[in-house]
């Protein structure tokens, strides 16, 4: 179809989203996009989610951390923020996330708010609650492997 004249084209805002998961979680773009759609529709309803029109443009996730750029309609960024906050898991894997910034272009969003790839985990052995445990550490953050899951800790917990 023919291009819309410029003043009728939708105006977008690009949200930089930072994600965190447990180290063993595997999350991909399609699953995250699905959660974004569910979250907007569940919180804002059909009309609200059509207004926000959230689309995941970029997605990286590796080693328990990641980032995404979500395109939303201008003037609906607060609604989008609220809906994103309600994403508590992707494909059953718990995620923590936060919007680190918003920009008018993808490029500005990437340059200002997206950090480079995270450094890989280092394997560590720690004593946690009087038991020897293996752990995955990145800078200050240490995820301790317990019998069934992980416990989030930091280097302060092992001094």
């Amino acid at each position: 179809m023919k291009h819309l004249p410029k003043h009728l084209q939708p105006r977008w805002r690009y949200l930089a989203v930072e994600l965190e998961t447990w180290p063993d979680a595997d999350v991909d773009r399609r699953a995250f996009q699905r959660e974004v759609w569910y979250a907007t529709q569940n919180l804002l309803g059909d009309t609200g989610s059509a207004d926000v029109d959230a689309t995941v443009l970029r997605f990286e996730h590796d080693d328990g951390t990641g980032h995404a750029i979500v395109r939303v309609r201008r003037n609906h960024t607060d609604a989008a923020r609220a809906a994103l906050a309600c994403i508590d898991a992707v494909d059953g894997a718990p995620v923590g996330l936060r919007v680190t910034g918003t920009s008018g272009t993808v490029r500005a969003c990437e340059e200002k708010y997206i950090r480079g790839p995270a450094e890989p985990f280092g394997q560590r052995h720690v004593v946690f609650e009087n038991a020897e445990r293996s752990a995955l550490a990145r800078q200050k953050r240490v995820d301790v492997r317990t019998d069934h899951s992980f416990v989030g800790a930091t280097d302060l917990d092992f001094r």
Partner: protein, 232 residues
């Protein structure tokens, strides 16, 4: 703005990890509100210094009956800066709002808990803050979230009418459940709160911690009277 968190063993992340993440997210402080039977082992000052965020030692008292709750509040009052009562039961809700030694009544609508204008007025008279818990709004979906939203609305109307003090919390059990202040404000606006109400509710934790630290300080004598080191 402060967030009130449950830390390991009452959650999946230690106090240090919660504080580190909260500092990243732009909070000025965290209140550790582990349930009384699952206390966390931590050094609040060391964590605060390492991550540049205030760490407030609190407790969430969980009891089956008002008399048991009364005993537990008495025990914990002198040991913790912030004393929260685990609400969600009608008798416990009533006990909490009628007791000035209680700082916060947590999630009064959870389970079969309920709230009314009498309790709201009692909370206002006794200065007991009522918590708006966003936990179920953030984590649930479908019918249970609809009920949680309905309960929050009812609670909001009662609290506003009685002009009772309140706090807001996402009640996170791990660092992954934390959400940044701006996200919480946006979510509050989407579900019928005003942005100012949300910010006020997140700020209220810090004022509460500051007041309680002041009155438990050695230089405090009685309201309006305190020992000043500079006076010779």
């Amino acid at each position: 703005m402060y967030e009130a968190v449950h830390a390991h063993p009452d959650g999946d992340s230690t106090v240090a990890r919660q504080a580190l993440t909260a500092a990243d997210y732009g909070f000025d402080g965290v209140v550790v509100r582990n349930h009384g039977d699952e206390p966390a082992d931590y050094d609040a000052e060391a964590v605060a210094e390492a991550y540049g965020i205030d760490v407030v030692e609190g407790v969430e008292v969980r009891a089956d009956t008002p008399s048991q709750a009364s005993g537990l509040v008495g025990n914990h009052r002198s040991k913790h800066t912030v004393v929260v009562v685990h609400g969600g039961d009608r008798a416990i809700n009533r006990f909490a709002v009628e007791n000035p030694a209680v700082d916060v009544l947590a999630h009064p609508m959870r389970g079969d808990g309920d709230f009314n204008h009498v309790l709201a007025n009692a909370a206002a008279d006794n200065g007991v803050r009522v918590e708006f818990s966003l936990r179920q709004v953030l984590g649930d979906s479908g019918g249970s979230r609809v009920r949680a939203l309905g309960d929050l609305r009812k609670l909001r109307e009662l609290v506003a009418d009685a002009d009772a003090p309140y706090v807001v919390s996402a009640d996170p059990r791990s660092h992954l459940e934390l959400r940044a202040p701006r996200e919480l404000v946006a979510l509050g606006e989407a579900i019928g709160f005003t942005g100012d109400q949300m910010r006020e509710g997140l700020e209220a934790w810090s004022r509460l911690a500051e007041r309680n630290r002041r009155v438990t300080d050695d230089s405090f004598v009685e309201p309006g009277v305190r020992l000043d080191e500079d006076d010779g």
